[in-house]
Amino acid sequence: MSFITVFRTFAVLLAIFAISMTGTPTKSFAKSKFVFANSSPYDTLDPHVIYDVGRVASRLNMYDGLMRWLDNPPKLTPWLAESYDISSDGKKYTFKLRKGSTFHDGSPVEAKDVVYSIERILALKKGAFSLFSKSLDPGSTKAPDAHTVVFNLKKPSSIFLATVPAIHVVNSDLLKSKEVNGDWGGVWLSKNEAGSGSFELTRYDPAIGFQAKRYANHFMGWGDKYLDEIEFRTVKEINSRVLGLMNGDFHGTDGYLPQDQVKRLAADDNMNVMEEESMRIFYSIIHNGRKPFDDVNLRKALSYAFDYDSFINNILSGSVARNPVPVPNNIWGNPKDEKGYTFDLEKAKEYLAKVKQPIPEITIGALTGYGQTEQAAALLQNGLSKIGVKSKIVSEPWSVASKKMRDEQQMYDLLWLWRSTYYADPNNWIGEMYACDQVGARNNSWYCDPEVDKLLMEARVEPDQAKRAANYKKAAKMVTDDAGGIFVYNTKWFGPYNKKVKGVRFSPIGNAQEMRWVHME
């Protein structure tokens, strides 16, 4: 075969290819199909292995729990449970399951499935395990009958109820049949589902995402308007997600896009951008356990050296809400009257003068790829230079920072980051960020004040929410007065949706990714 022949063949093939690619492919969405572009990959569907906000859609849409967080501010609502009872000593939680709930294979949801689900979480030690490891022993949860579940806690807990929605109930009979080498059906469940949720899995590809159809027999029933099908696809690039929305390829994406992209979408005729104040606070950890940061005067100087207004109004275009304490603005337990710190270099100098110990060059940590943390670090560095304090910025990936945060020696002097909502209780923030028993784990500032700790510990067991709120308010004021960290803002969620999409319900726990109320107009 001569080269001329070879090239002719290639040319013909190329021509066929070129002809085939002309013209826009038809977008063949069913009338009630919703496509969501998600930044996090759905690399596993196992609801007991993951517990991050980025992949919440698979858990919320295909699984049910005894309770559910709904709306904003989040309300804890009975879901698979129709009622619950808490013993007077706060150690026994009894849930009555509603009758008629079924898994996607048609079998009934029973108490044994709830017991299996919590035992599975405790055995795998992944996902939401940390929420239950200190309160529940394996084998302590009982099912006295098919519709009653009793959680016997090791010690009284007022936050247990708030964490119950994290127990996604799996079909125990199905999973037991899929177990291999005592893996609790892990390999099978990473690619399949065993839930009773509003949608049942129809297709899954870890590289693409998942597709699910409406489960007509879901216990909540369906009104006149609903989605027949949902599809959550992984689209890593922000630009591709935004262009895809504008192009009509997707109907929604996550609500934490950069402001320039939010404005771009808001200006599009086919888009509707919803706005809600979320519960995700942005702050800087200060390493209270390291000298000279154990001196409150230095910490106050740092707090006065940060230009809050410039950061919020100029850099972030006012797209967030000032949140001066370690409890989100929109949850009970937030001290509304606490104003926190302002940018005041004179006061910063004043407090700096009171510091007796020599001040070394300060290491300000930021997270690579999270521009706001780097911007905040630079702004603080600028403020510090004006009061004569040297600092350097170290930006590292989250996989590196998350390791250093747990090591007292390796931890940065300061580190900018967010604290998200895992359960809507002040303990999720101040109760973990500043409790002595969380030092080196969820308390990465090595802050341990006996009085604050006493308030937090009382609040963890006190059943009366009003008394708990008082404790959290007082503790939040004390931590703020101690300048335990630099508290900047509470995030706002800007959910971009195609204008045809109606019925979106936002909750800070699910970020509006539960689709059972959504429909297409």
Partner: protein, 332 residues
């Protein structure tokens, strides 16, 4: 016989090369002070939980023991389990391999089919306006960053002109998987809609990936043809009255292609690595996107698996290229 010796020689080096590659990758990935277990367990995890998970995945052992265990596993066909997906790495890689291979093959095909003829034409019409224009194009192809070019293509072809899809591999989920190559699978299934849809989705990623490769091939071909054109045998053939079309495309090109074919082999490897960027922009569900996630998550086994598979492909492709080179070399 010479070819057989070459193949045996290369195969003997195959294993040591891959072992060396794995040792280097293992060392580099572990030098980074990341903790995949703490990262995977999440910010709420207790320290006890992290330590237990670390032991479960063998990360508590000394590095050299981890490396030896990994190499032993590889000899048994076990590339380990991804800490994130909870699935065997081989399963994850195999599910994504066809997407990357389809894209890479198309990019190689396009860059070769376009690059070689343009290189020949540029050489024949050297120092003319045509040659200068091609030079500008090739320099641009080599200089422009792929991610930027990809976004420009998206804006122009998908958003402005609306003649190509924006991203993804196909609308929906594609034809039934037989080979994993959507173009082939849709033909086997007789599904013309899926074929055109998959082909349309291939356009922009292929163009982005092929552009710098095409520039390289074009420059190599041009240089090879110029070298050959000035040879005595070409002068002889011209004196014999052979039509210049025959001389160029039949005799000159065969000599000139020896260097170009070598370059195509290298380009193939570069393109596989290049998919990391292109797949990320176009959300192409292949190995590149998987590698990006693996690196961001410090998923050691996934990083090693990606490196191993791309390294193996690179070696195999270059072996094939060497064989082809031996076949087309007129001196053999």
């Amino acid at each position: 016989m010479r070819t057989l010796v070459l193949v045996i020689n290369r195969l003997l080096w195959f294993v040591p090369t891959l072992v060396g590659l794995m040792i280097i990758t293992f060392t580099i990935s572990h030098i980074i002070p990341a903790d995949p277990v703490a990262f995977f367990a999440g910010e709420n995890a207790t320290n006890e939980q992290i330590e237990e998970l670390r032991a479960r995945y063998g990360f508590d052992k000394p590095l050299h023991i981890q490396l030896i265990n990994y190499l032993i596993g590889v000899t048994q066909g076990d590339l380990g389990v991804s800490i994130y997906t909870q699935r065997p790495i081989s399963e994850d890689l195999l599910s994504r391999l066809p997407a990357t291979m389809e894209l890479t093959f198309m990019a190689v095909l396009l860059s070769t089919v376009v690059g070689i003829p343009l290189g020949v034409i540029a050489a024949v019409y050297r120092n003319t306006m045509f040659d200068h224009v091609l030079r500008v194009i090739t320099v641009s192809g080599l200089a422009i960053a792929s991610f930027w070019l990809a976004i420009l293509f998206q804006l122009l072809f998908a958003m402005e002109l609306q003649i190509t899809p924006l991203q993804g591999r196909i609308d929906g989920w594609g034809p039934e998987v037989i080979t994993g190559f959507f173009l082939i699978d849709s033909i086997i299934a007789g599904d013309l809609d899926s074929f055109t849809n998959a082909a349309a989705h291939l356009v922009l990623p292929t163009l982005t990936l092929a552009f710098p490769a095409m520039a390289t091939i074009m420059r190599f071909t041009r240089a090879g043809v110029l070298d050959a054109i000035n040879s005595n045998y070409v002068l002889y053939e011209q004196a014999m009255g052979f039509p210049s079309r025959i001389i160029i495309w039949k005799y000159v090109l065969r000599n000139a292609l020896i260097g170009t074919v070598t370059q195509i082999g290298l380009v193939f490897g570069i393109l596989i690595a290049g998919t990391v960027v292109v797949e990320a922009v176009y959300d192409w569900p292949g190995l590149g996107l998987y590698a990006v996630e693996a690196i961001l998550n410090s998923d050691y086994n996934a990083i090693m698996g990606f490196t191993l598979i791309t390294g193996a492909f690179f070696i195999i492709i270059n072996l094939i290229v060497d064989i082809i080179q031996g076949v087309i070399d007129p001196r053999n």
